[in-house]
Amino acid sequence: MNMLVSGTALLLACAAFFAYDQFTFRQGLVRTLSAQAQIIGSNSVSAITFNDPQSAINTLSALKSSPNIESAGIFTASGELFAQYLRDGGNEALTIQLLPEGKAEAYRFGSMHLVLVHSIVFQGKPVGTVHLRASLQELDQRLRRYTSIAAVVLVLSLFAALLVSAAFRRSVAEPIVQLVDVARVVSQDNNYSVRAAPTVVRDEVSLLVDAFNNMLDQIQRRDDALQKAHDELEERVEERTRDLVSSNRELEAFSYSVSHDLRGPLDTMNGFSYLLLKNYSNQLDANGKESLQGIRTAVRRMSELIDDLLNLSRVTTSIMHREEIDLASYSRSIMEELCHRGPERHVEFVAPARADAYADPRLMRIVIENLLQNSWKYTSHHQHARIEFGSKEQEGGIVYFVKDDGSGFDPRSADRLFQPFLRLHSAAEFPGNGIGLATVRRIVQRHGGTVWAEGMVEQGATFYFTLESVRSEVPSRAS
């Protein structure tokens, strides 16, 4: 491509030079011929005047010294041939070429000849005309010679250009292209172990290559360090996870055995108190029966407490499997259950058709269950209750809520709501052991979300929760 461009440029330059040279050479030829014609003319005046053709022939014969003049003729003022000269001999008579009116000289370039006509003027009077005919062979030869020179020069310079270009390519372009390739491999394949081949010649390009390789060394070292840190971290995390898993298992075992052991005496107490009531009710007075009832109630409460604690511990330690679930359907089935257990209640329940979430189904069921049970419980004093479950989009994610118009709570005590065992109402007002909300908070936290409540005394309460602010691709950690 470059060759074509430079070749064309050279060709054009040569052509321009040729054209100029041809032009100036032609002009030179004309000038020479004109000078010769004038000399011949002035030397032939007397010959024409006194009718001495021999003298004119002698004058013309001097043209022998000009090898390019083929023929010459002297014509009288009336147009007759007076004397002629033919380079190659022969007897052909020349014919007159007429001069245009008023011009002393005229010339014409033919294909192979230049013909020049000059008027002979002596003391203001035209005496005759001189005709000279010169061959353009020299011109032609000149042109041919120049063409061959140009061709040789063109070929040589193109060849030289080719050599220079090849050298340039080798020393500059190729190493740079190689650098580009290496850079591409590094970015595409994240392979930091490749290096650019150093050049043979120590010049600026080789400096570039060295700097490039140094940079890659640095990058590789950083990358290795990063990988090492990552691996170490992974190791540490695995260790911790193992520790956690083992301690969880220990805890699980402990809770199970404790509850199991605690259950034992409770069952005994439950059984014996039942027996007493059943078999010795006729021997007991009202106080006695009341005391036994009290014992049974307490036992039952303790049993419930143990179950809840067990639940809470399980919630904390169990493995979480996330799925696409519909919380709205959970709320509906839980509500059904509650209505079934308490048919005398008048509760209006509102829930959307769907409330999608990506969470552990078992744990979320516990959340919905606890929240709805709370609402059910704390609206039991009202004739008519309204419980709503729903979700709304907020920036960052979806917020789910359970809302009731029950007895509510003092907002100043909101921070105590979710702590275990701390109850804002006495057991006399509302039964419960204060584990439910703690459990909800634990589950929601495990899902990466938060839970909070808003409410006023006797004006209902709304419990909000989120599950993981952004749905990420990170798979759930096995624990």
Partner: protein
């Protein structure tokens, strides 16, 4: 009467045709100039190739005179040849003279062959007066005349007596000498 009527037109036609023919014949004759015409032209042209020095006796005038001494062979031809012409800035005039006294103003003097017997004094007077003497009488140049017409190869050529011209204070251009058939007084001739 009838005969004349018939013949007259054709006769007239014949005359017209004949005169046309004769005229064209005469015109065809013209390219060949006569001897007097050539000599007259030469007389006039010599003036272009001769330089009269200040020491020559010819008084500088406004005209260039060509004189004919003796029997005039030219008639009106010389006048016709030089009519309206000039040598340099001088207008050419012609004069026929019969004695030498009148030759002092002549630049060019043609001595007719009728003056052969009185050649010597004529030449002497011309030399003093710085006049170019030309003639066609035989041996003119040998006898001291400057330019002598000689017929050669069907053409009019001339001989030049160089010393004679030098004595009269005249300079002849080499161009003129080049076309002379003989130049007396030049080495090699």
């Amino acid at each position: 009467m009838r005969v004349i009527k018939i013949f007259l037109p054709s006769f007239a036609l014949g005359i017209v045709l004949w005169s046309l023919f004769a005229a064209s014949w005469a015109r065809a004759e013209q390219p060949h100039p006569t001897e007097p015409q050539i000599e007259a032209a030469y007389l006039y042209n010599f003036g272009k190739f001769v330089t009269w020095s200040n020491t020559s006796g010819v008084s500088t005038g406004e005209v260039f005179e060509i004189c004919v001494l003796g029997k005039d062979p030219f008639g009106p031809i010389l006048d016709a040849t030089v009519a309206g012409e000039s040598i340099g800035d001088k207008k050419i005039t012609t004069r026929k003279i019969s004695n030498l006294q009148e030759s002092s103003h002549c630049r060019v003097l043609f001595i007719s062959s009728s003056e052969e017997s009185r050649l010597k004094p004529a030449l002497a007077a011309a030399k003093n007066g710085g006049t170019l003497t030309v003639s066609d009488m035989p041996h003119f140049a040998d006898k001291g005349g400057m330019i002598q017409f000689v017929p050669r190869d069907n053409r009019i050529r001339f001989e030049v007596n160089l010393p004679a011209t030098e004595e009269a204070g005249l300079t002849l251009s080499s161009e003129l000498l080049k076309v002379a058939v003989k130049v007396i007084g030049k080495p090699g001739n």
